[in-house]
Structures are given as structure tokens and as C-alpha cells.
């Protein structure tokens, strides 16, 4: 689907947009290559600049972009290179990162974007100034939480970690009723474990949210590749004052421990991808501006 106002397909270029920054010195981007191997440049209009790259439309048509992004290896390569450019821009000043695969037909169209939405973009850049995104992930063991903070009887575990009801015969009462009651206890404990895990995540998020400028919580990633640290209870991004980043990371570790988490991973600093919608995006469910 193409925008009716866009130039026809005979245009020679496709412009890949990485981010928006203040118009200013972008010398730091000289020599940097983008997702298509082309030169990164800054397209200026008024107080703003778009960090862009001209790519070959024969290689980056809509169908081709879609195809490439569906291939895991290509997706990774493109995502990493896109990110590298955004990081380079962010090193030079406040930066509004763009989502992957925003393309325009001509430089003028990009300038038009900067002009049309000038006030909005300036407002967002102002809000991001001096601030950085930081990612927090936390894991907790539901069984441990039930033992330490729960009211249910913790599920009896046999030596293999399997529920006791499934251990070798002779290790427990083998009547049918006993089996059923054991299973009920196990399921109750499991449900409570899930509830406590969710509460653990909520507690950490609330504590960190009080400190951060803004917060954006992803649904926790459920994955069996998480290993021994239990279930992921929090996967969130926080916008913090750059000068307080280290302090925030320490506070995250302490909060998580206090809430019963077993493992915390802090990622970052990130360009503000999760807060690119700005402080007024309260209607957008993605982000929550807390100040």
C-alpha cells in the first residue's frame, strides 16, 4: 500500500530513517555505514535533523524489506546495524529512535515530516534530554516464594524435582484419595506460586517506577530457556536521569532482592526506544509517564 501523495515508483532512491535529533553537529556520524551499506547522513530542516541513509530501492522494496525481516539471520543483521546507527546518533545528543523499516522516497519527504511535526518532535527531544533508557529483567522461583511468603503448603518435591505424587510407589500413601489430595495441594501451590511471582514483579516495578521518569513494562517473556532462575517476573524499560543510571541499577538489584527475586539483569544504556512516543503518550498503552 502506498501513500497517494508519495512520488511515483520511478524515484531513484529509498531513504531509510534511523532517528530524529536536533539539527547540529553530526560530524560524529561521518564514515558510518548503514543497513544497506550506504553513508549515514543528517537531513536538516529547521531545528531538527533526521538521521538517514539512501538505499537502493531495487534491494529495499516493501516486499524485500518484509522478506528480509522474516529471515532470522537478516533480521538480526539489520536490527543490529540499525541500532548501531541509532546509538551513534544518541552519543551526539538527544535522539528519538525510529522503529525498524521506516522508509521515504525522497529527502524532501523526510524534511516534510520534520516540518509537519516539528513541535511534537522538539517536545519529545526536550523530554529525553539528559535521560537514558535502562532495561530491567527479573526472575523468581515460585516454589521459593511459596515457601517464604506463601500461605499454601509448598508442593512436596521428590529428589528429581518432580511432584511427590509422581515419585516411585512406596514413597507416599498410594490410595486414590491420597493421590488426588496431593495433586490438589500441588496445583494450589502452583497457582499461589504464580500469584506470588506476579506480585514480586509488580513490587519491583512499582519501586523502580517511583524513581524513574517513565516506565514501560513488557509482558514477561515465558521461556523454557530461562534455566534455573525460575520464571521471569519483570521485563521493563525505565527512563532515568543519565547521571543517576548507576544508582538506579543498584537500586534495581536491591529492590528485586527485597521482593524475592533470585536474579536481576540490567541492560543498557539504551537510546530511548521505549519512550519515543514522548511524555504525552498516556493514551498509548505502551508507556506510562510518571512525571
Amino acid at each position: 500500500m502506498y501513500d497517494a501523495a508519495a512520488p511515483p515508483l520511478t524515484a531513484h532512491e529509498t531513504i531509510w530513517v534511523y532517528a530524529i535529533t536536533h539539527s547540529g553537529d553530526h560530524a560524529g556520524l561521518t564514515g558510518l555505514r548503514g543497513i544497506g551499506g550506504g553513508q549515514i547522513r543528517a537531513l536538516r530542516s529547521g531545528p531538527l535533523a533526521a538521521v538517514v541513509e539512501s538505499v537502493d530501492p531495487g534491494v529495499f522494496s516493501a516486499e524485500q524489506i518484509q522478506g528480509r525481516l522474516s529471515d532470522p539471520a537478516e533480521l538480526e543483521a539489520i536490527a543490529r546495524r540499525h541500532h548501531d546507527v541509532v546509538v551513534a546518533a544518541a552519543a551526539l545528543g538527544p535522539t528519538l529512535p525510529f522503529r525498524l523499516a521506516t522508509v521515504y522516497r525522497t529527502d524532501d519527504r523526510v524534511r516534510g515530516l520534520l516540518d509537519q511535526r516539528r513541535d511534537e518532535f522538539c517536545h519529545r527531544l526536550g523530554w529525553l534530554t539528559g535521560r537514558t533508557e535502562c532495561g530491567i529483567k527479573a526472575w523468581a522461583d515460585p516454589d521459593v516464594l511459596v515457601r517464604e511468603r506463601g500461605t499454601a503448603e509448598p508442593a512436596d518435591r521428590g529428589p528429581g524435582g518432580r511432584p511427590a505424587s509422581r515419585e516411585a510407589p512406596g514413597s507416599a500413601d498410594q490410595s486414590g484419595a491420597a493421590y488426588l489430595f496431593r495433586r490438589r495441594a500441588e496445583l494450589t501451590a502452583r497457582v499461589e506460586g504464580q500469584r506470588l511471582a506476579a506480585r514480586c514483579g509488580d513490587e519491583i516495578h512499582a519501586a523502580l517506577g517511583r524513581l524513574a521518569v517513565a516506565a514501560h513494562r513488557h509482558p514477561p517473556r515465558d521461556s523454557r530457556t530461562d534455566g534455573d532462575e525460575g520464571v521471569m517476573v519483570l521485563n521493563a524499560a525505565y527512563l532515568v536521569e543519565s547521571a543517576q543510571l548507576a544508582e538506579f541499577a543498584e537500586f534495581a538489584q536491591a529492590s528485586a532482592a527485597g521482593a524475592g527475586a533470585l536474579k536481576v539483569v540490567v541492560t543498557g544504556p539504551w537510546p530511548a526506544y521505549s519512550f519515543a512516543d514522548g511524555p504525552d503518550a498516556l493514551t498509548c498503552p505502551r508507556s506510562l509517564a510518571l512525571t
Binding site: 498410594q174 491420597a178 488426588l180 495433586r183 490438589r184
Partner: protein
């Protein structure tokens, strides 16, 4: 593709199919178990019924373990990842 590779692929395909079938059976077993527990909680089962249902479920569970052993699958193998919805059979 050597003949040996073709054989191994066939064996893998069979094993995958078996895993799928057993996953479905396991899903049903777990659903029945939960239903029974709910009935116990509601208090509308006699002691005799509880004992009989419990025994049946226990034997079903043992049978599942035997089937898994026979096909060299673990209970953890019997799980389908539904992506954002998490694993089909939850964690146990």
C-alpha cells in the same frame, strides 16, 4: 541423502508424532484431574467416588510415565510452546 539419513528422519518423524499424540493425551489427563479436584472442592463426591476417581487418575498418570519411558520421551518433552501464551501444559 543417504539411506541411513532417511531412516533417521523417519524415526524422528515418528517420534514427533508420538510426542504430539501423548501431549494431547497428557492434556486430557490434566484436564480430567483438575475437573476431579474441582468436584472434590465442591464437596459433591462421596469418599468412595473420590477413592475410585483418584485411583483411576493415579493409574492414568503411571501409564503416561510408562508410555513416555517406552518412547524415550520425558514428560517435559510433552509440551507445546504457544509463544506468548506460554507452554500448553504449564509447568510442573
Amino acid at each position: 541423502m543417504t539411506a541411513r539419513n532417511i531412516e533417521m528422519d523417519r524415526a524422528n518423524a515418528e517420534r514427533s508424532l508420538v510426542a504430539l499424540v501423548l501431549t494431547i493425551v497428557e492434556l486430557l489427563r490434566q484436564l480430567m484431574e483438575r475437573q476431579a479436584i474441582r468436584r472434590v472442592d465442591q464437596g459433591d463426591l462421596s469418599d468412595g467416588q473420590i477413592e475410585r476417581i483418584g485411583s483411576t487418575l493415579m493409574r492414568l498418570d503411571e501409564r503416561m510415565s510408562e508410555l513416555c519411558d517406552h518412547f524415550e520421551l520425558t514428560r517435559d518433552d510433552l509440551n507445546l510452546d504457544l509463544g506468548p501464551l506460554g507452554p500448553l501444559l504449564g509447568r510442573d
